[in-house]
Amino acid sequence: MKKVSVVLKLSNQKKTLIIISLIIVLVLSIAICLTLGSAQLSLGQVVKAVLKRIPLVGERLGYSVSPMDDLIIHSIRLPRILLAILVGCALGAAGVVFQGVFHNPMAEPFVIGVSSGAALGATIAFVLGLNFSFFGLSSVPIMAFLGSMLTTFVVYNIARVGRKVPLTVLLLAGVAVGSFMSALNSLLMVFNREESTKIVFWLMGGFSARGWEHVQAAFPYILIGYLVIVFYLEELNLLSLGEEKAQLMGVDVEKVQLILIGAASLIAAAAVSVSGIIGFVGLIVPHIIRILIGPDHKFLLPTATIFGGIFLLWTDTLARTVFSPIEVPVGILTSMAGAPFFVYLLRKNRYK
């Protein structure tokens, strides 16, 4: 049966234009989201306060910003907004890579254990009351990061046969290890009820009470992982045609697969460790963008990255403003939007 799908045909110039427009939308979104919150600030106040903080430029500006405005914008809203964008970018990019490497539009970073490992790591940190810090970062994100990378490593090695990693086995190993981790997680919570509220809130994923230290901690890993991926975009295109095809066209499949899965897991792990588990962004963002600009990863990756940032920025802004003063963990909102979308994809793909 012939596959029917909406595919817009866009020239490369138009695709570049879309990327530029998205960057503009992102910048505007940052400005607008800085004004939103319990304390009302005008766009003018926000712009003034941000400019004032720019090194060299700020000192020459002839106005002053109230310490209160400066505090709200620079210590509370800006780091949170940047973190939401960073995590959104990371999840969007990781999703693109996983779907490409697995040549399966249903794949996402969490399928190979990134999230379950992070959850277990965080839970252990809460339960043991670990209280160390490293580069200003507390024990929970560090343990989440370690848990995440370790789980990915275990899953990858379970699935590995010699130098080959059959993708179905990898996915199944991810499911199996993931359930095992979740079970351990629940067990730990049962025996440590006093910590369970904290754990549950962390698991739901969000950006409340996150600051500059989280941005600084996650950014280098995400940047490194991202640069590696950018280096292998051509190979990613070929891998998305299937391993056999990629090899016959000259790709050193096993090596490139390992590098790309490693880089994408690093990015996702860094994101999850500072945000908790925010589901479905890595799944739906690449999908929407692929429908919009096509499957060529040279355009798909940057577009999905920026769009992921915009998407999570706005969902988080909704999460912190709509039910104010109650803050909804943003992971709940993304899953509420993502799950129905996933079902829609399943239905749409059923007859293929």
Binding site: K2, L238, Q247, L248, M249, G250
Partner: protein
């Protein structure tokens, strides 16, 4: 000499018997070669060995006098293009995007030869007559169109050898003819060596210079269609009775089958 195989044996780790059992053969440059034989005789495994998709356990394979094991994945892709039996993608690339990916084997990082790439891509699309499909996403193509795109992609690798694994078995007879005519043209005009796994003995007879007939991991017979496609050989290899006749062309036999009931 395009391909030289000597005493090649191969066995899958889990299987009790050898799939390929000390095969030796040679294929000269610029030949159109058909590999035929019943299901499970090792045709596809042989193809996998020739393209380094599996590691051979015994014997040697030489592509243009170079030992296959000593070549990198990229070097193999520069010499050999492969058209699989059936290829489906989860993502709807356009024809041009797919054909352009065929250039990967010749690319070095940070070094681009856009002009050559563009020329080769256009030539490949012209040869396969898919220029009008350049911007069309593959989800909107028929099976015959998609198969021509895949051939164009392999041609963009500018290989010396083109290997096809029953590349037309799911196409109707007019598309089959179209593809084999195209292959013959490439074989004659661009001096491409063609190796095709085939099920249809009449197509093999009409198009091939050489036929390699396999049975149970061994070569049963190798030679011209007239030499290999005899009623006795077909009876022996496939276990069926056929009628082999020669019409106007005495070099290319026609094989006809009859129902066995009645």
């Amino acid at each position: 000499m395009a391909i030289k195989v000597s005493s090649l044996s191969f066995q899958y780790p889990a299987s009790p018997a050898k799939v390929l059992d000390s095969l030796s053969f040679k294929i000269e440059k610029n030949q159109f070669v058909g590999i035929i034989g019943p299901n499970g005789c090792g045709k596809t495994t042989l193809l996998k060995c020739l393209t380094n998709m599996v590691r051979i356990q015994e014997g040697n394979i030489f592509l243009f006098d170079k030992e296959l094991n000593s070549l990198t994945t990229k070097q193999v892709a520069q010499l050999v293009g492969v058209v699989p039996q059936r290829w489906e993608s989860s993502f709807s690339f356009t024809a041009k995007e797919l054909v352009a990916m065929g250039r990967y084997a010749h690319k070095q990082r940070f070094i681009r030869d856009k002009e050559t790439d563009e020329q080769v891509i256009n030539k490949a699309m012209k040869a396969t007559r898919i220029e009008h499909l350049a911007e069309r996403p593959i989800f909107q193509m028929s099976g015959g169109e998609l198969q021509r795109v895949v051939i164009a992609q392999a041609l963009a690798q500018t290989p010396q050898i083109l290997i096809l694994d029953e590349a037309t078995s799911h196409l109707d007879i007019s598309h089959q003819l179209e593809i084999f005519d195209l292959l013959k043209e490439l074989n004659e005009q661009q001096e491409l060596t063609i190796i095709s796994i085939m099920h249809d003995l009449n197509f093999a007879s009409q198009y091939c210079d050489q036929i390699i007939m396999m049975r149970e991991g061994k070569i049963f017979s190798q030679g011209s269609p007239k030499e290999t496609l005899t009623a006795a050989n077909i009876k022996e290899v496939y276990g069926v009775d056929v009628n082999v006749v020669f019409t106007n062309d005495s070099e290319r036999p026609l094989i006809s089958v009859f129902p066995r009931i009645n």
